[in-house]
């Protein structure tokens, strides 16, 4: 089963490699991992997407908690939550494709954030499925580059992850 785990961790050099090393050393899957400082610059927040049985995911959260720099671990997918990922696509935008690409961006509520005579950079935010759907909806021959941020997650309502 797919799980989305949020980790608050001390913003120290090496913290990311401890987490990444833990996953590789124990043979756990990482589908995506994002990390950035929080409003408190001494703390980083990671969102990890992983796959595994309930027992495996229980071990993953325990092992993450065991890292000395880990402050808190929550399996967000256990309760209502939001997921968002950002994607930037550079596409060929010439001739009739130029208008078509603009139209598709509008349909998906994406934004064109860079324009040249021949290219667009399209910015799209959403859950993983929406981003995948956009890539499938456009002509693959027109895609020059894609870059995705990985998933960020947050609990809904009063469910708060903080120190």
């Amino acid at each position: 089963m797919r799980h989305l785990i949020s980790v608050l961790i001390e913003n120290e050099s090496g913290a990311l490699s401890r987490v990444a090393g833990l996953f590789s050393a124990r043979g756990y899957n990482i589908e995506s991992l994002t990390v950035a400082p929080t409003e408190d610059p001494s703390l980083s927040r990671m969102t990890i997407i992983t796959n595994g049985s309930d027992e495996t995911v229980e071990q993953i959260t325990k092992q993450l908690n065991k890292l000395i720099e880990t402050v808190k671990v929550v399996d967000l997918s256990e309760a209502p939550h939001l997921e968002r990922e950002l994607m930037l696509l550079k596409v060929r935008a010439t001739g009739k494709d130029r208008e078509e690409m603009k139209r598709m961006a509008d349909i998906f509520r994406a934004r064109i954030v860079d324009v040249t005579d021949t290219t667009y950079v399209i910015e799209l935010t959403g859950n993983q499925g929406k981003l995948d759907a956009f890539i499938q909806a456009i002509d693959p021959a027109l895609i020059l580059e894609t870059v995705r941020s990985g998933v960020c997650g947050i609990g809904r309502g009063e469910r708060v992850l903080r120190v």
Partner: protein, 571 residues
């Protein structure tokens, strides 16, 4: 007052009441060695290889319960230390390793004797630090000791670049440590503990299964009191020998791959298993699927939540320090007026006595002809009155020592249970002797293991350590040979070692006493001489044992607790 980083290191170690540092100098730690030279509170023990520095610090910690300290230089000093660090990590031993590093400005430039020590050691430490600023050094060292000794203990490495040990700053050693990310649980959940006590009281076939956590938490007294109170049989893992008196009737011996018949069957057929600081390791229960085939209630006490329900699902998990939790068990039993074992356990004990009657550890020592290794260990036990600190290396001799030396007290049995590191025996004995200068210390080893750290005979001479080394010499990598005999069609691939040295002469070359023993009748007199005539010397007893002897009982890897091979006749 302004101190250099090196002086701060020495000051911090003194504040932590460190008495011995096991180490080896080199370029990146010269400032630190200079600071050591100018003090005399802490004694530095110069080993002959960095691996032994960490093993000795680890052995010191195992024997004393205090944090062991090792000091090594950058690059090869650090990489040589890795085996020692991983060994301590696998057995949760509190050790602080200080490593030198190239100056901060040169890090990442492939400087002479530079390796990414923090990166290399990351998977085998509880935690590690690279100190980039001398102002952080004292705080970091305080944290290192705190992390090493609290919670589930383990090794912590502090990497100190050369410019940091040279730089000066104001020294202030913090009184306390506060880390928002690290607050290990001590007290167990009271509701869970009450449920566990109830399950234990209602059990028809209970067993106490104790692991290394009982030794680490100094909870042998509580474990013994609980066992006596409820009358349940006790089995202790390889890491917990001595946590319960082996001479007591309730003790069934060690469980697992080379455990006793009665311990394995009792563990398998119990209706309530109280696991105390143990982790259902593959060498203990073999196949988790086979173990799960029998219905039972598992109560699992461990300070590390990740050890619970990792291999075997616990019905009643209790996270906490086992000493506190066992004390709570006893208090609740007091409250409930339980003072003596229940009569209801009589049928269970009858079954256990039937299993015990198989005498799975019986052996015969012919008066003439090859010395049996079991006889060596039993004689050693007799001569030392069961009161020595015994270290071992890894292999057949380790299992024989574990099976036949009956440990009645904790911290008397030092071996590498988790990582299974050949070469630990001699440095463990060194560390143990520094921890307990009054105690007889014996290293039970084999001709293969001893050669992995034999250079330490030189350290033993320098520090006049009167260790007794009992070398069970069968000319083979015995455990490898045993597996090849049993599971590889007798094809003894590379398990025979030709051209062995004359160990007695080698010991004499290092300045020690070397004695070779070939005949059973010579064994006891030689051991007695080692502890009387040569009491103040290191004695190397090279005992030529029967090369065909195997360790039994045995459970093949991946099999279950009921699938024991009791002798060669079972094959």
């Amino acid at each position: 007052m302004l101190l250099t980083g090196a002086e701060i290191v020495v000051q911090c170690l003194q504040r932590e009441n460190v008495k011995y540092v096991f180490g080896y100098p080199g370029g990146a730690v010269l400032h630190i060695y200079d600071a050591f030279f100018q003090q005399d509170e802490i004694r530095h023990v110069l080993v002959r290889h960095e691996q032994a520095a960490v093993h000795a610090a680890d052995g010191y910690a195992r024997a004393s319960g205090e944090v062991g300290v090792a000091l090594v230089t950058s690059g090869p000093g650090a990489t040589n230390a890795v085996t020692g660090i991983a060994t301590a990590y696998c057995d949760s031993i509190p050790v602080v390793i200080l490593s030198g590093q190239v100056p901060t400005a040169m890090i990442g430039q492939d400087a002479f004797q530079e390796v990414d020590t923090v990166g290399i050691t990351r998977p085998c430490v509880k935690h590690n630090f690279l100190v980039k600023d001398v102002a952080e050094l004292a705080d970091t060292l305080k944290k290192a000791f705190h992390i090493a000794r609290t919670g589930r203990p383990g090794p912590v490495l502090v990497d100190i670049p050369k410019d940091v040990s040279a730089a000066k700053c104001e020294f202030r050693y913090p009184e306390t440590v506060s880390m928002r990310s690290y607050n290990p649980v001590v007290k167990g959940h009271q509701g869970q503990i009450r449920k566990a006590v109830k399950a234990l009281r209602e059990a028809k076939r209970p067993i106490l299964y104790a692991g290394g956590g009982v030794i680490l938490a100094d909870a042998a007294d509580e474990l013994t009191a609980l066992a006596r109170r409820v009358g349940a049989p006790v089995t202790t893992t390889l890491m917990a020998l001595g946590a319960y008196p082996a001479s007591d009737r309730q003790f069934l011996g060690m469980p697992g791959m080379h455990g006793t018949y009665e311990a394995n069957l009792a563990l398998h057929h119990a209706d309530v298993v109280l696991s105390v600081g143990a982790r259902f390791d593959d060498r203990v229960i073999g196949s988790p699927e086979h173990f799960a085939s029998e219905p039972r209630t598992i109560i699992h006490i461990d300070i590390d939540p990740s050890s619970i329900s990792k291999r075997v699902k616990a019905d009643l998990p209790i996270v906490g320090d086992v000493r506190h939790v066992l004390a709570d068990f006893l208090r609740i039993l007091d409250e409930e007026g339980v003072t003596a074992p229940s009569e209801a356990l009589a049928p269970w004990w009858e079954r256990i006595e039937q299993w015990r009657a198989r005498r799975c550890l019986a052996y015969e020592q012919p008066a003439e002809g090859p010395i049996k290794p079991q006889y060596v260990i039993e004689t050693l036990w007799k001569v030392t009155k069961g009161d020595a600190i015994v270290t071992s290396d890894v292999g057949q001799h380790q299992m024989w020592a574990a099976q036949y030396y009956r440990f009645d007290h904790p911290r008397r049995w030092l071996n590498s249970g988790g990582l299974g590191t050949m070469g630990v025996g001699l440095p463990y004995a060194m560390g143990a002797r520094f921890a307990r200068p009054d105690a007889p210390v014996v290293c039970v080893t084999g001709e293969a293991s001893i050669q992995m750290c034999i250079q330490e005979l030189s350290t033993c001479k320098q520090f006049r350590l009167p260790l007794k080394i009992v070398n069970l010499n069968n000319g083979y990598l015995g455990m490898v040979r045993q597996w090849q005999q049993l599971f590889h069609g007798g094809r003894y691939s590379e398990s025979y070692m030709d051209s062995l040295p004359d160990f007695a002469a080698l010991a004499r070359a290092y300045g020690h006493v070397g004695i070779r023993v070939d005949r059973p009748a010579d064994l006891q007199p030689a051991l007695e001489r080692a502890f009387s005539e040569h009491a103040n010397e290191l004695v190397f007893l090279d005992v030529r044992i029967d090369p065909r002897e195997n360790v039994y009982p045995m459970i093949q890897g991946g099999k279950g607790l009921t699938e024991m091979i009791l002798s060669a006749d079972d094959l």
